[in-house]
């Protein structure tokens, strides 16, 4: 059984960290960062060309992590693959013991760094989940033909809590869960009150899934502002931006580098600790965006052990 599934279904506070494969074929940096995460997270969630920017495939890093004794989550978007390619990749992933996946529709190629690529979208996130659930239930492939052997995946999906009108995200979340998603990772959360309001709506809608709050450790005030302006569903409150700016000013005055990033780690840890203490969510998903080495520190400061 999937390690993340075991944790979440046994009522443990689930912890996952996100990691992107390299833009290239040398995975050593990722593997070194992953070693630091051993025993600190339930799984490492490997992105599938996030922001539609070309990287090595998720499946490659997932296989490497698995061989190194780590638990990968394979992200699968519908942007670049037809249903046949998705199912083929998932069968291949299963042969390496990869048993946890996250289905996403995927950012459009037009927002990425290879705009000439054909956006496929044969299936969206709901379609991917439904296809895999049907495969698991029937032992048949996407064309209705018998498979010689059939894997089972612990399936997840994503949701954007800060969205207007929210009912559309709640409705889509329901469809994802109906289609087989058992755990849900949210877009990066910075305002716990907004998270609470979202969780109330999920509860009211009677949606049963393990929700993991997305945590993005901020590095600078500029990064926060950039994300507010450019990343859908991200809303960093002004006071957080002000604190990061103040930390930068203080660092400049004292001649100390990295104060905003250190504050970002503190703020992330604080949020995780609160989410856990108040039972707001079933776990957290940390998206450190290249600073995965900081994840153990964040978890330690938050007092979270797996």
């Amino acid at each position: 059984m999937s390690v993340l599934q075991q944790a979440l279904e046994n009522g443990k506070f689930g912890v996952t960290a996100e990691m992107a494969p390299p833009k290239g074929c040398d995975f050593s940096e990722q593997m070194a960062a992953a070693e630091l995460l051993k025993g600190k997270v339930h799984a490492i969630n490997v992105t599938d060309m996030q922001s539609a920017c070309l990287k090595a495939s998720s499946i490659g890093l997932c296989v490497k992590l698995k061989l190194a004794g780590l638990e990968p989550i394979i992200q699968m978007t519908g942007r670049d693959r037809s249903r046949m390619a998705i199912m083929g990749d998932m069968l291949a992933a299963a042969s390496f013991g990869i048993d946890t996946m996250l289905a996403l529709t995927g950012d459009h190629t037009m927002v990425g760094d290879c705009k000439a690529s054909k956006p496929v979208y044969d299936l969206d996130s709901v379609g991917i989940l439904r296809m895999l659930s049907t495969m698991e239930a029937t032992g048949k492939d996407c064309g209705g033909n018998d498979l010689a052997s059939t894997p089972t995946f612990y399936k997840g999906a994503a949701v954007t809590p800060v969205y207007e009108p929210q009912i559309l995200q709640i409705n889509k979340l329901r469809q994802k869960v109906d289609a087989g998603a058992r755990y849900i990772q949210t877009q990066g959360i910075f305002d716990l009150d907004a998270l609470k309001r979202f969780m109330d709506e999920v509860y009211k809608a009677g949606i049963k899934a393990h929700i993991m709050a997305g945590i993005i450790p901020l590095k600078t005030a500029g990064m926060a502002k950039y994300m507010n302006e450019n990343v859908p569903g991200i809303a960093v409150p002004q006071d957080m931006i002000d604190r990061l700016a103040a930390a930068a000013a203080e660092g400049k005055e004292k001649g100390v580098k990295g104060l905003p990033a250190r504050l970002g780690i503190e703020m992330a840890a604080e949020m995780i600790a609160k989410i856990k203490a108040e039972g707001l969510c079933d776990g957290v998903h940390i998206m450190a965006i290249g600073a995965e080495k900081n994840v153990p520190t964040i978890l330690e400061k938050a007092g979270v052990e797996i």
Partner: protein, 216 residues
């Protein structure tokens, strides 16, 4: 209608390289509405080609270039003029119909852009992807296949900002529009309908439909 856009003149001249005599064929329907193949555009292009040393030996206008019967008839004087090349000022389908009846090369003066509507004079918007399995009855008369950049059928992605699409912020998110329309129609429940995956068998091309009840 089929929305067309003029090709750059250099591209057309490149195709016509070596032709001394040309004939122009316009289209009285969509291309006229798009100002890419009407009487005025035929006259304008004639002048330009003459300026580039070509002789325009015939012009013709089909009410609908896409209809073989109509186009075959109007092509008679064009074929009789025996030009080195024909310029078809229609959509891509019109070009192909004309090319079937001409022995000389037929070149397109337009790029065929999309199936859409004339919102007002000179403004065209894409509105249908010819998916072969219309979902408009469930989506408040707004097409998610053509109006959503990802052609999503189960509701919006998380990528919209202030109701606008992540791919082109000038475009509204189709699913937010669908939702608003369904609320307006008192059909809000339809937003929750799980849509069966229709697959792509119906868009395996080229497609033929025969309602004649006889052989093709």
């Amino acid at each position: 209608m089929i929305i067309t856009q003029k090709k750059p003149l250099e591209e057309l001249l490149g195709m016509l390289d070596g032709a001394k005599t040309v004939a122009l064929v316009g289209c009285g329907s969509c291309a006229t509405a798009c100002a890419t193949g009407g009487e005025k555009e035929i006259a304008d292009l004639s002048k330009v080609l003459e300026q580039h040393g070509m002789k325009v030996v015939a012009t013709a206008m089909s009410e609908y270039c896409c209809m073989h019967l109509k186009t075959r008839t109007i092509l008679k004087p064009v074929i009789a003029a025996n030009p080195d090349a024909v310029v078809a000022m229609s959509c891509g389908d019109g070009v192909q119909v004309i090319a079937q009846y001409c022995k000389c090369p037929v070149y397109p003066s337009n790029n065929t852009m999309f199936l859409g509507e004339s919102v007002k004079l000179g403004l065209f918007e894409e509105a249908c992807h010819l998916c072969g399995d219309c979902v408009l009855g469930k989506t408040g008369g707004i097409c998610p296949i053509s109006r959503c950049a990802k052609s999503l059928v189960n509701g919006p992605c998380g990528g919209s900002r202030n109701g606008k699409c992540e791919v082109n912020p000038e475009n509204p998110c189709a699913w937010i529009e669908i939702y608003n329309k369904l609320v307006e129609l008192g059909q809000e429940y339809k937003i929750g309908i799980t849509r069966d995956d229709k697959g792509y068998e119906k868009v395996s091309y080229p497609r033929t439909i025969n309602i004649r009840g006889d052989k093709k």
